[in-house]
Symmetry: C2
Subunit: 158 residues, 2 copies
C-alpha cells in the first residue's frame, strides 16, 4: 500500500502560504542552466508586487539572468525560519514559476526600495532589471507529514 504524503489543501495551508509570500524579502531561485542542463541555484532578494506576484531585481551579469533569458522556467523556495528547533520543521513554500522581464518597472521601484533600501546604490545601473516570477503551482511543507499542493488561486492569484 502506498502512503500518500500530501494532505487535502486547507484554508490554514492557504493562509500560511500567503503570509509567507507577503513577508518574503529573500528566496532561493532555481533556473535551468542552458550550458549544462543542471538546475542552478542562487539566493536572491525577492518580494511580492501589489498584485501578490513575486518580483526580483537581478543583475544581467549573473548566471540566473542569462539562464532566464534563454528558458523562463524556474522555481522559488521561500522559507519562514524559526528562531530555534529543527530547521526541517520550519515551513517552506516551493513554487514552480515562469519568469517575465518587466518592461516598465516604474510601479515597482518605490515598493522595492522601501523593502530593500540598500538597493538604491545599484537599482539604476543599466545591467539590473526587474523580473516577475509568475507562480504556476506551489507546494507547502509545514513540517514532517504536513505537505500541501497549492494552485495560483490558493496563493491569491488569478
Amino acid at each position: 500500500m502506498t502512503r500518500d504524503p500530501i494532505r487535502a489543501t486547507s484554508d490554514d495551508a492557504r493562509q500560511t502560504a500567503r503570509q509567507m509570500l507577503a513577508a518574503m524579502r529573500h528566496a532561493v531561485l532555481a533556473v535551468n542552466d542552458p550550458e549544462t542542463g543542471h538546475p542552478h541555484l542562487s539566493k536572491i532578494a525577492c518580494q511580492i508586487d501589489a498584485g501578490g506576484v513575486p518580483v526580483a531585481l537581478l543583475s544581467g551579469l549573473a548566471v540566473h539572468s542569462r539562464a532566464l533569458a534563454t528558458d523562463p522556467r524556474a522555481a522559488l523556495l521561500v522559507e519562514a525560519p524559526g528562531d530555534r528547533g529543527d530547521p526541517m520543521t520550519w515551513p517552506r513554500l516551493s513554487l514552480q514559476v515562469v519568469a517575465q522581464g518587466v518592461a516598465d518597472p516604474a510601479g515597482l521601484r518605490d515598493r522595492w526600495l522601501r523593502a530593500h533600501p540598500k538597493a538604491a546604490v545599484f537599482i539604476d545601473l543599466p545591467d539590473f532589471r526587474f523580473w516577475r516570477l509568475m507562480p504556476q503551482a506551489g507546494f507547502l511543507n509545514a513540517g514532517f507529514g504536513a505537505a500541501f499542493r497549492l494552485t495560483p488561486a490558493d496563493l491569491g492569484l488569478s
Copy 2:
C-alpha cells in the same frame, strides 16, 4: 566595459567553502522535474560523508527522488546563516552536482544518525534511500562583490 563580478579563487574562499560543507546539516536541493521541465526545489537534510561528498537520505515518495531517478543532474545550495544583519551578506555555496543512489549504505548509517538522530524513526523504511550528490562545480558568494568559482579540487574532492 564589462565588469567581471568573479574574483580569482583564493585559499580563504576554498577554506570557507570546505568549512560550510563540513558544518552542513541541511541544504536546498534543485532537481529537473521531468513532467514540467522546470527546476523543482526542496529543503533536505544533508551532510558530507567521510570523503567530503554531500549525502542525503531521501524518501522515494517525494518529487525529488522520482526526478533524480530520471535525470541525475541537480544542484545544492548551502547557507551559513548569520545571527543578524542583511541575509544577502551571509555566505552561501551553490554546487552543481550529479546524484548517485547509494547501493551499500552501511558505512553512512551511523554517521547520519549521529548528525540526524530523529531520522531513526524512518531511516529503515523501505522507501528511504541514501544519495551521493557529487559536486561538479561550485560558486561561493561571500557577500556583495565577493564571488568565487570553485572546482571539486577546491572543495577537497578528487
